[in-house]
């Protein structure tokens, strides 16, 4: 593929992104501004993640791309193809075989290792944005560590619903300093943010990059009497029987029938290949 520079972006752009990634790693959870480029896909389709991946990829990498846990959805397929074409890297659907995983809104079920990098596509990087629309103010709030407003928001959840109803993009405090939006992952995934792999977050439209180094303390905000809970549908996967994975609810017909399946397609497939069968999985077992 000599028609493109390796991994599509020009070298100066990659250097700019790389410098932002290094500063992001040095100040975990802090949003580093960067000069996001126009990519050959619309904003909202993972342009931030794609730029971070492009600046991070080496020719020896094996890339996996997931969208809501699935390898076979439009966004995942097109980003995977994009890097096959422009970087010539190998791709895989197998989580354990991937060296870089670009993700939209999920953390894979399988535990990630030291040698892996997880790149998140982030729509709104600022956790305080819906509480305070002005960038000048939210920046000041971060600099002063003024996060009371976020606790008020969680408190209002409790006073209205009896529990913290925020179920995705659940705010976390990174290394005891910055409050960070973990991107719209379900709060089920929040405990996994403390992991062995390097986590990079890219928001293309909002022009922010942030990062969480391995083994960094990541605490989901909560109250002593209303502790954080990682919730999922109270069910097992109907295909593979997994009790411990995050589930998607699939409507089967207009008579109210439904099934629950693992949102992580690779996890579900590998479990079925290993012989696990869920309540509805017998007839089309892999």
């Amino acid at each position: 593929m000599s028609a493109y520079n390796f991994a599509y972006l020009d070298e100066q752009t990659k250097r700019m992104i790389r410098r932002a990634i290094l500063k992001g790693l040095a100040v975990p959870g802090y949003q580093v501004p960067f000069a996001s480029r126009e990519m050959p896909m619309p904003y909202g389709w993972g342009t931030g993640g794609v730029q971070v991946s492009a600046a991070t990829l080496t020719p020896e990498d094996r890339l996996k791309v997931i969208d809501q846990g699935a390898d076979d959805t439009t966004n995942a397929v097109s980003i995977r193809k994009f890097f096959e074409n422009t970087a010539g890297v190998e791709t895989t659907e197998d989580t354990s075989q991937a060296t870089i995983i670009q993700t939209r809104h999920r953390i894979p079920e399988a535990k990630l290792t030291e040698d892996q990098i997880l790149v998140y596509q982030v729509p709104i990087p600022e956790p305080l944005r819906f509480l305070e629309p002005r960038e000048t103010e939210t920046r000041k709030m971060h600099s002063l560590e003024e996060y009371g407003l976020m606790h008020v928001k969680l408190y209002e959840d409790i006073s209205q619903h009896g529990a913290i109803s925020t179920s995705y993009a659940y705010p976390v405090r990174v290394s005891g300093r910055y409050v960070m939006d973990p991107s719209p992952i379900p709060k089920f995934d929040n405990p996994k943010l403390e992991m062995d792999a390097i986590q990079l977050f890219g928001a293309g439209r909002e022009q922010r990059i942030y990062a969480v180094p391995p083994h960094t303390k990541v605490v989901s905000l909560d109250f002593e009497d209303y502790p954080f809970e990682a919730t999922k549908a109270d069910h097992c996967c109907d295909l593979c029987g997994a009790e411990d994975s995050y589930l998607d609810e699939v409507i089967m017909d207009d008579a109210g029938n439904r099934m629950f399946v693992c949102s992580d397609t690779d996890y579900c497939r590998s479990r079925r290949e290993a012989g696990h069968i869920g309540p509805m999985g017998a007839e089309d077992a892999a």
Binding site: Q12, R15, L22, L25, A26, V27, P33, T58
Partner: protein, 191 residues
């Protein structure tokens, strides 16, 4: 490296060499105390391979470089100008500073960022004789329990860490090896 030519010693295949070099630099920054190999450039003396490769990977006309001590010589200036186009600046304006620890000091000469933009701080590339996984005890983000690294001046680096989230970030280089120390790392002298 006797007759070093300013046009020589760059990356053979810039996109791929820079990608591999950045992976090493990023892994080092994400895992303080880890010592990684980084190579690709062949800079003029006294720059090490690791320092030269870092500069080619990260610097361009947008980044001011401060050359400290004997790194500030015509061969290095010409080489960096040809390969990166980066301007040479005072310590106080530098995005990247390069040199031996004693030449780079004092630490308060460098930008540490602002409370609202802590990323606007200098990154120091410190040339060392060797990097060793022993000495100061490191803890914090990127470190499972503790890590060990040979550091030039524990007191000054502890002072930098106390500025968190402001402060400088460091790469330590020797030969083709690189290690990093971000401002987020807590440092204790070995007991």
């Amino acid at each position: 490296m006797q007759d070093h030519h300013q046009f020589a010693g760059g990356f053979n295949d810039a996109p791929r060499d820079a990608a591999n070099a950045f992976r090493a630099a990023m892994t080092a920054m994400a895992r303080p105390g880890d010592i990684r190999e980084i190579a690709g450039a062949e800079p003029p003396a006294p720059l090490s391979v690791a320092a030269g490769t870092l500069l080619l990977t990260l610097c361009d006309p947008d980044t001011g470089i401060y050359l400290a001590g004997d790194t500030d010589n015509p061969a290095v200036r010409q080489w960096l100008t040809f390969h990166t186009g980066a301007p040479f600046v005072r310590a106080a304006d530098a995005d990247f500073a390069i040199g031996r620890w004693e030449d780079l000091m004092p630490l308060n000469a460098y930008r540490i960022g602002t409370p609202e933009y802590p990323d606007r701080s200098a990154t120091l590339i410190v040339e060392c004789d060797q990097l060793e996984p022993r000495g100061a005890v490191l803890g914090g983000p990127g470190i499972r329990s503790t890590a060990h690294m040979s550091l030039p001046d524990i007191g000054a680096l502890q002072g930098n860490a106390m500025l968190y989230p402001l402060g400088c970030d460091f790469f330590f280089t020797a030969g083709d090896k690189v290690a990093a120390l971000p401002r987020s790392t807590q440092i204790k002298a070995e007991v």
